[in-house]
Symmetry: C2
């Protein structure tokens, strides 16, 4: 009786079953060319000994760890946690684990986190968005780690992707407001530095306005960090403009929540006095008063598809370089014609 009852090894299983360690390994890995009889003997031995394979030894010998890495800016944003949630669920079906790292929107930290994950031996990785440092790409290349980006739809030979167009729906939102008769706009944007999604959305807003011959002065675009309170503060800033905007486009739903809250505080009626839009379609956006007009980001779908595609890439299968999902505009109650609007000059 050893003082720490040595764990049972593959070798013990082999002895118990009266076969070679190679055969046990084959059974474990469902390798072809294994006789029914041998398989049964081995499986019986495994059961009777309660054998559990050692993942680290297996990883060293096989050069794959059975886990992928996901690098996300933060899990505090529900769109990302929803994506990660569905990603993990799907990976489980492939018997693949998930290693998470967050980088607080710092691309430098993203590189560092990726480095440690690669060191850890991940079989593949998924990144958010299209903005990354060159060092990131170099790490993937040098260590030959299969990777994917998601949440954007840029065409780029360096970055295979699964996502959706962030600019077009943003443009549609702005066009919708223009069609309703709005002429004076305000924008609340997330910081665009290192965040291509925020940038694309802002660009979409701008494009629609320019096409309509409308001006969007710099002081009509307020940039704030993610957060309801931040959205409320940005809203207050926009409301100090004279003349006031009649519509406010927000870079995401949470900023829109903040804007709606501040509007209510200030006694500004949505959508009668002012229209507001979001982007993401968080679960509660449907259940507000009024319900938020926004764009539905397909979080869960992205997660599933990333799992399917990354696993395929790891296997060496061919996969589409770029997959674009639909991000649909959802018209609800926060957008309406500008009631108290004067006709443009």
């Amino acid at each position: 009786m050893n003082r720490d009852a040595k764990r049972t090894l593959l070798q013990d299983v082999a002895r118990e079953a009266g076969v070679s360690t190679a055969s046990v390994s084959r059974v474990l890995n469902r390798a072809p060319h294994v006789s029914e009889r041998l398989r049964n003997r081995v499986e019986a031995a495994i059961d009777s000994l309660g054998y559990v394979p050692d993942g680290t030894a297996r990883a060293l010998a096989s050069r794959r760890i059975g886990a992928i890495g996901a690098l996300v800016p933060t899990l505090d944003n529900p769109v990302f946690s929803a994506m990660i949630d569905s990603l993990e669920q799907r990976l489980k079906q492939y018997d693949c684990r998930l290693l998470i790292a967050t980088y607080r929107y710092s691309l430098d930290e993203e590189v560092e986190s990726l480095r440690t994950l690669i060191q850890q031996g991940i079989d593949g990785a998924v990144l958010i968005g299209h903005d990354h440092l060159p060092a990131t790409l170099e790490l993937f290349r040098r260590h030959e780690v299969p990777y994917l980006t998601c949440w954007h739809s840029e065409e780029d030979p360096d970055w295979p992707s699964i996502g959706f167009d962030n600019a077009a729906p943003a443009r549609h939102l702005a066009e919708h407001l223009i069609d309703l008769g709005h002429r004076r706009f305000g924008v609340i944007s997330a910081p665009v530095d290192g965040n291509d999604r925020a940038r694309a959305r802002l660009a979409g807003f701008r494009q629609a306005l320019e096409t309509a011959g409308l001006d969007l002065a710099d002081d009509h675009v307020v940039t704030v960090e993610y957060g309801i309170e931040e959205g409320a503060a940005a809203f207050a800033e926009l409301m100090r403009l004279m003349p006031r905007p009649t519509a406010i486009l927000c870079g995401n739903d949470v900023l829109a929540f903040g804007a709606m809250f501040a509007a209510a505080q200030a006694g500004i009626a949505i959508p009668d006095d002012l229209s507001i839009t979001g982007f993401d379609d968080l679960p509660q956006s449907r259940f507000m008063h009024p319900a938020l007009t926004t764009v539905a980001a397909p979080s869960a779908e992205v997660g599933r598809l990333v799992a399917d595609t990354l696993v395929a890439r790891i296997r060496g299968d061919q996969t589409p370089h770029r997959q674009v999902l639909e991000a649909r505009v959802v018209l609800r109650g926060t957008t309406a014609p500008p009631l108290h609007e004067m006709e443009p000059a």
Copy 2:
């Protein structure tokens, strides 16, 4: 020029620096008794070769993988994603990675996920709550994996914990409503099966009511899955009761959101016609109209403390068996005296 330019190994670094592999290993692991000179030589060699240690080999040889596992019911619930977010951030400071697995509130699936994580070689694990299958405990014991539970405050020699009391604040919420003059209550609860937190909260509600000599009939407790829509449906069910409750206690904020939405739809004024409470204090709860009376679950704090404590346990340090954080009742705008209430008989 090999066709796959073999990666540089620790051995290569040793040769380059003109020292033994053991010395390189020592430098890598910040072992004591290493001369300044040797360290510099080795570090120079590491830089010049761009050496990156192999995590899998290190894991096999050292018997630790540099990652812990977190088993959570789902990441779709913001309280959990917030906790995981802070957990991961803190773990990074200890140079420790995070492996995530979700189990959709199925304790059987929890066991299975734990098994694969342990097989993966995790250095430690954290579980949510106090409800677990015996097999879970056995896995920890058998594989000698340090572990922690969180989000509850049960005293149990088997389960070291970091969390907060779920029952007491729930009781306080109910007491507060009783003090305001409410006598007829409804409860919207999450499924309590395998969920000690939901059970504790419900028990807290019950206890306060019983102490006050009030009745809570079975049909005044509606159990629904997590979700705004689910909360709304439960609310509708409670509103069909005659006489109607004047206060509704919800098992979490999201259910409360649903209830508030349904109330607004039905033209029931909160808090004048009806009081509503939640539990969790999600970011938006403060920014609703009216703002939600609820209990603040210290998500981020739990995450940080779990990281600190689990890492200490892995090192073999002594840590408190049970750490109880404060979960404070936050009185806001959804609770008020029952305006249209008759005096109790």
